[in-house]
Symmetry: C2
Subunit: 236 residues, 2 copies
């Protein structure tokens, strides 16, 4: 095995969410020179916030995201040569609903060490707080956003939740949150439970679990705010 | 909505894993008086480690775990009366593969605030580091430990992983890790990928991803050590 190391570094979920990061990440990141990032702005902001005296111009950055999913050849060489590299997500934990997984897969292929670091993750925080089954759960990413596919998918997730006693977790682009919510009310069974977790770790954090029939008298405030949806039709 | 608050507090995953916890948990926990815990020993140890001057005898503890899954009536009263209570898991994040979910569900019912805190979680850390699909994944808890059910379940998870392009995450009681590993080698397809993540955040942390046919020449060191298994037969 070579000595290359890939650090998977979580980023904050909300503007004022640095309090969630463990303190040891500051000296760790301050000692590294090579960074692969999902988005340059949020990664620089994280580094600067954790260590105001860091000289960002002396660091090297490469992009890896949905538009640039090929691992840069220089990153491959660095890892093979035994260098330490950090991958920083745009928000939350690398490799969970983001493209950092390619890089982790490559590191395993060449025998480099892969080190995941603890930090905030909206899927996990929402599930913890939902009150739903945390022994069996599924994350589905984004649901289809067009009809009739969206309605069919919701029905399918609900049926499977009931049959398998499984919590079904999904997300949506923030400006479409309300459309998804309306479709959940329309399609879901009245007794099915729905947890809506908005602005996690932020000042407006709000996590509410209700039956779908109870949600019908409420419109949650989630327009353009990052939100995690969890549906549960099992018996917990 | 009443003013009761339920804090969901992660516990460390390994003996020396306190470095993973965000610093703000120390003043938060030092200011609370009421604790519901999965296991008394690990919760006291966490409190004492975070704040050596804490007077544990002045705090109130109630148990909530697989043996005592009824929420103590006094805890219900406290939450209804507007008190702040913390639930501390035995290891990792409350409500994920542990019984804290009952308490979170109750808090939602009475309109108390539910606040999930960031901390280490072995499922999430393993998935981040696996190099597998983090856009679609399922956690299945414990698999059946008897034959032929175990073999059937592994085949079923593998088929579903291929069809749905889904990472399949599961755990086992540590002293049975090696049996599960042997069964995975026997039942799984040679090209299916298997990630074994052992002693996460601990001194012996080791995360390795290989195809099943490649694992056949290796026996990972995981006997009696907490381990997360992830199987992936999709195309990522």
């Amino acid at each position: 095995m070579n000595k290359g190391k890939l650090h998977l570094v979580p980023n904050i979920l909300s503007e004022d969410g640095h309090y969630c990061l463990p303190a040891y990440l500051t000296p760790l990141l301050s000692g590294l020179k090579y960074f692969v990032v999902e988005e340059i702005k949020s990664a620089r902001r994280l580094l600067k916030k954790l260590n105001a005296s860091i000289n960002i111009d002396q660091l090297e950055f490469w992009m890896l995201n949905e538009h640039q999913s090929e691992i840069p050849p220089e990153v491959m060489h660095r890892l093979k040569d035994g260098d330490e590299i950090a991958y920083i997500s745009e928000a939350g934990c690398p490799g969970i609903a983001d493209p950092g997984q390619n890089l982790a897969a490559y590191a395993h292929q060449i025998g480099a060490e892969v080190i995941p670091h603890t930090g905030p993750n909206s899927i996990l925080l929402a599930l913890m707080a939902s009150g739903f089954n945390g022994q069996q759960f599924c994350f589905h990413g984004y649901l289809p956003n067009k009809q009739p596919l969206l309605g069919q998918k919701i029905q399918y997730l609900e049926t499977e939740s009931r049959q398998r006693n499984q919590s079904q977790i999904f997300i949506e682009t923030p400006y479409r949150n309300q459309q998804l919510f309306q479709e959940l009310l329309k399609t879901g069974h009245g007794e099915t439970k729905l947890c809506i977790a908005t602005d996690l770790t932020g000042k407006q954090e709000k996590i509410t679990t209700r039956k779908i029939r109870e949600w019908k008298n409420h419109l949650p405030e989630m327009h353009k705010v990052p939100t995690v949806f969890i549906l549960y039709a099992g018996i917990y």
